[in-house]
């Protein structure tokens, strides 16, 4: 029911959004973070792994894309895909180390490796230190589509987001996704059923890293900038917050969460330092009272509401 009406409605809204007063750069930022949060949610929501270092894929890819497009002069589309590829490679390396650990330790290994990536970003020449890589050109996509206008770029970003979102959706509902959920629920059982759990985990990790990279690369084109902020541990914390707010393990949760947080950061900029306090309060309230997140709570409410009707 919801799917039949809700999804076309959302799509229509996304298509007309820049024409009804929504600022395209804001929308693009929110979409990039929504994609990032979805990628992150793939791990925590469907495999049960909390990564506290996802910023390394996001930021690493942002740097890669920015460098490729600005210095090497590669076409924009190759640059973004290249960013995703860099994310995937990093994910393969980090993943093969990290998935051997669980729970808190997994979080800590990813945090440690992310700190090293941060150090590399700070020290390496091509990243430009704290200035970052600035003034990344927005060259026409496929040599045809002019993306120097924000409106045009918005539709490109929307297309990237939808494609990635569809990929995540398909993955979750594929046999592969079912195995992931089995691992989350009971790892020992999945092993005894003959699944090579580590391989599944690694594949999910690489996919999540690659999509985070896609988000990071796209972001660096939108803002024409890749900077240390993208690889800092606070960024890893932010994506956790987005996913938590929207609802861990729900399909639309991370998208909602990303929009909520980005909106907050954008429109509360006037209150300056209080933004962080408000974020903190949201964290506390959600952990204490709404652990399922916005989408999770709504779904639970809906289920409670709908069940008697079905009987």
């Amino acid at each position: 029911m919801i799917r039949k009406i809700g999804i076309p409605l959302l799509l229509a809204l996304a298509l007309i959004a820049p024409w009804v007063g929504f600022y395209p750069v804001f929308l693009m930022k929110a979409l990039c973070f929504a994609l990032f949060a979805c990628a992150f949610n793939l791990l925590i929501g469907y495999v049960g792994l909390l990564s506290f270092g996802h910023a390394m894929f996001f930021g690493g890819a942002a740097y890669a894309t920015a460098h490729m497009v600005k210095v090497w002069g590669v076409p924009t589309e190759i640059g973004i895909l290249g960013g995703a590829a860099v994310g995937a490679v990093m994910g393969l390396i980090v993943g093969s180390v990290a998935i051997r650990r669980q729970g808190i330790y997994f979080a800590m290994v990813t945090l440690a490796l992310a700190q090293m990536v941060f150090f590399f970003a700070l020290q390496a020449k091509f990243t430009g230190g704290e200035d970052g890589i600035q003034a990344v050109p927005r060259r026409p996509l496929f040599g045809l589509i002019d993306i120097s206008s924000d409106i045009n770029l918005y539709y490109v970003v929307l297309a990237i987001f939808l494609a990635a979102f569809l990929l995540i959706y398909r993955t979750i509902h594929s046999p592969f996704g079912q195995v992931l959920k089995a691992i989350r629920e009971n790892e020992a059982r999945a092993i005894s059923l003959g699944y090579k759990v580590d391989q599944y985990k690694l594949m999910a990790f690489v996919l999540s890293a690659a999509l985070s990279g896609l988000a990071g690369g796209t972001k660096s084109i939108v803002f024409q900038l890749a900077s240390l902020t993208d690889v800092q541990w606070q960024m890893s914390g932010e994506v956790v917050l987005m996913t938590l707010v929207g609802g861990i393990g729900t399909i639309f949760g991370p998208v909602v969460g990303a929009f909520v947080i980005v909106t907050m950061q954008n429109y509360l900029a006037q209150i300056g330092e209080w933004v962080l306090v408000v974020q903190g309060i949201i964290f506390v309230v959600i952990v204490l009272a709404f652990r399922r997140g916005i989408v999770g709570e709504i779904a639970a409410y809906w289920a409670r509401f709908a069940r008697p009707a079905r009987h």
Binding site: L50, V97, R100, R101, G103, I104, Y105, A107, M108, V109, L111, A112, L113, Q115, M116, F118, F119, Q123, W233, G237, V240, L244, E273, W274, L276, V277, Q279, G280, I281, I282, F283, V284, V287, L288, R291
Partner: protein, 293 residues
């Protein structure tokens, strides 16, 4: 310029000593974290903010009540500890039977709130706090300020006392038993929730104490804790989550390692701890001193 191998042994000795002094802070902070994790199974992200509050508490006691450093050394940890107990009663208590991750997220949120409020109230540049023990002794190979010597001694005493209480006394035995099987301990007529609450207060008080010790050396600023907390986390993980002795030894050892890095490759001094952490976790997932469960 320093040459890599041309560091005179005297200078090296000085750096080792400085490393030990920094290690004293790591040890005290990670001790508090380890006690809290060991007893409550909560990763206390608020620890950095509570350390900062300790320093501010000392500053406020001086500024508004005229109480000097030595009073603050006793009063501030009690005040901060009481604040910790309040947090435990209001928030943490509700999360004990959930995944550890929720405790981490909750305390992360709390630390954002506390730091934001302090920033808003006191600005970010920080406040000055006078050194109560000015001067120092020239040891030949380096100039050792009296205050730094005092920090090491104080930290060692506190760490040893804590270890003794938890590992060697009856109270400590109850505590350890309560973490293994709270229901059984409760059945013996011991008020477990109150014990856990006081333990959290104690761990937080340790952070406050470290903050007071830090006030005369570092600038008393709202950001002082957030810069440190991630490193202290790494120390706890390397030492083994929840291991009291492990966190103390690792704290001091990593201070020394960091000190040496500052001589040979200073740019990496903030990263070296994470390199060690990654290696240790791969070789010994439970940390150097932790037992695998």
């Amino acid at each position: 310029m320093f040459e890599l191998l041309g560091v005179p042994p005297q200078a090296l000795f000085g750096q080792l000593l400085l490393g030990l002094i920094n290690g004293a802070f790591y040890a005290m902070l990670s001790l508090g974290l380890a006690v809290i994790f060991g007893m409550l199974n909560v990763i206390n992200f608020t620890h950095g903010a509570q350390y900062m509050m300790g320093a501010f508490c000392a500053w406020m006691l001086l500024k508004f009540l005229g109480l000097n450093y030595w009073f603050a050394l006793i009063l501030a940890p009690i005040i901060i500890g009481a604040f910790g107990i309040l947090l435990e009663r209001l928030f943490l208590r509700r999360l004990y039977n959930l995944d550890h991750l929720y405790g981490l997220l909750l305390t992360f949120g709390l630390s954002l709130i506390i730091e934001g409020v302090f920033r808003n109230q006191f600005g970010s540049t920080g406040q000055p706090y006078d050194n109560p023990l000015p001067g120092g002794q020239n040891l030949g190979f380096m100039f050792l300020p009296y205050y730094r010597a005092w920090v090491v001694v104080a930290s060692l005493l506190v760490c040893l006392a804590t270890w003794f209480v938890i590992e060697r006394t009856r109270l400590g035995a109850y505590l350890r038993a309560a973490t293994e099987n709270p229901t059984l301990v409760q059945a013996f007529g011991i008020n477990v929730p109150r014990m856990i609450m006081l333990t959290y207060g104690f761990g937080v008080g340790l952070a406050g104490l470290a903050g007071v010790l830090a006030a005369p050396i570092y600038q008393v600023s709202p950001l002082m804790g957030s810069n440190l907390i991630i490193i202290v986390f790494a120390v706890v993980v390397i030492g083994g989550m929840g291991s009291i002795l492990g966190s103390v030894i690792t704290g001091f050892a990593l201070g020394v390692v960091e000190g040496l890095t500052k001589v040979f490759y200073p740019e990496a001094s903030s990263t070296v701890i994470f390199v060690i952490m990654a290696i240790v976790l791969l070789v010994r997932p439970a940390g150097l001193f932790g037992q695998t469960r």
